[in-house]
């Protein structure tokens, strides 16, 4: 997951794309340590733990859970990882540029 996400973020630098993590590892200081250790550069929501506010409201039962949104904010894919995530994001960016 992580190496793939890193290369995705790097490849799409400057494109209308954002990867947002919703993290359940703990309080902010702990998350910061994990981000530094793993050289994670993208934005994180601090959801504290697996029964955090966001995870609870959205009924997240397993980690990772992934939603891919198009530029209009419509949910287009769920739980796509690695190559599948690449393909999904590339497709939605192409769709956006075609308009």
């Amino acid at each position: 997951m992580l190496p793939h996400e890193k290369s995705l973020v790097k490849r799409l630098e400057g494109k209308p794309f954002a990867l947002l993590g919703i993290n359940s590892d703990g309080p902010v200081d702990e998350v910061k340590k994990i981000l530094a250790e793993n050289e994670i550069t993208w934005r994180q929501a601090i959801d504290e733990d697996t029964s955090g506010k966001w995870a609870t409201a959205w009924n997240v039962q397993g980690w990772p859970t992934i939603y891919v949104l198009d530029h209009k904010g419509v949910i287009r894919f769920r739980d796509v990882r690695d190559d599948e995530m690449d393909t999904a994001v590339t497709k939605l960016l192409a769709e956006m540029e075609a308009k």
Partner: protein
């Protein structure tokens, strides 16, 4: 004359405290066997946990992990359950069989236990945790069979503390179903948990109604093709942000943890 009553009364009081809904003999042979099995299993488990804690590194821990006790007790619990058919002892033994069988992926034994519990013990007040655990059993045992068992428990159990987790499990199992009508049944079950059982809580964790709310929200707002609901959170720098801040971009939302 008076003193003669004390002993039988005391014995009766003891029985009343110790028993639940079954009136069978307090410590017949199968009951004794069951108690012994549980004791042996618990001792093996304690020993195993001690070894796990003493393990030097992750590799050693993994080796010990594989030898987790449990499977070797399945046959014994099953024997007791069959021997004591219909009694509280059988109920307890079948629940042990079900747990061990699902843990060890012994599907036939899990089905056997499920059938026996529903056929012989559906009115028991002690099925709450079991009904709740069925929420995870659909994939392993088969959605249709687990759903049917849960429908029976909901219908026949006289206990709200059992009905609530059974309805909740039924809802969560049918949410992903593609069988005609089952998705609607899932919604109805989850809505009933909210409207009729808002007061029922499991021993640990949030109320079933609270969890049902999450499943209904996901059904109604988080399906492919739906506009994403907005959510506000705080980032690693203490800054507030919303999903809607990212409109105009392709966005990946990744719920994750470093465990």
């Amino acid at each position: 004359m008076k003193t003669k009553w004390i002993l039988p009364l005391a014995a009766f009081a003891l029985l009343a405290v110790g028993s639940t809904s079954y009136a069978g003999p307090p410590l017949g042979d199968p009951a004794k066997k069951l108690a012994e099995l549980i004791e042996k299993r618990d001792a093996a488990m304690a020993e195993w946990q001690k070894e796990m804690r003493a393990a030097k590194d992750q590799e050693a821990q993994q080796k010990i992990w594989i030898s987790r006790p449990g499977p070797e007790f399945l046959a014994g619990f099953k024997e007791v359950a069959v021997e004591a058919k219909g009694t509280e002892t059988a109920e307890k033994a079948w629940i042990e069989v079900f747990e061990l069988a699902t843990e060890d992926n012994k599907i036939e034994d899990a089905k056997l236990a499920l059938d026996a519990i529903v056929a012989d013990h559906v009115t028991s007040p002690n099925l709450a945790a079991f009904a709740s655990s069925l929420s995870y059993a659909g994939q392993q045992i088969g959605r249709a069979q687990v759903a049917e068992a849960l429908r029976t428990i909901v219908k026949k159990s006289p206990h709200r503390t059992v009905q609530a987790p059974a309805l909740f499990s039924l809802g969560t199992i049918l949410v992903e179903s593609s069988v005609a009508g089952e998705k609607a049944e899932a919604r109805k079950a989850l809505e009933r948990v909210q409207s009729e059982f808002a007061d029922v809580k499991p021993k640990r964790g949030s109320a079933y109604a609270e969890r049902a709310k999450g499943f209904l929200f996901e059904m109604d707002h988080l399906q492919i093709g739906m506009t994403v609901p907005d959510f506000e959170s705080i980032d690693e720098n203490g800054q507030k942000f919303k999903v809607s801040d990212y409109k105009g971009k392709v966005v990946v939302l990744d719920f994750w943890g470093n465990w």
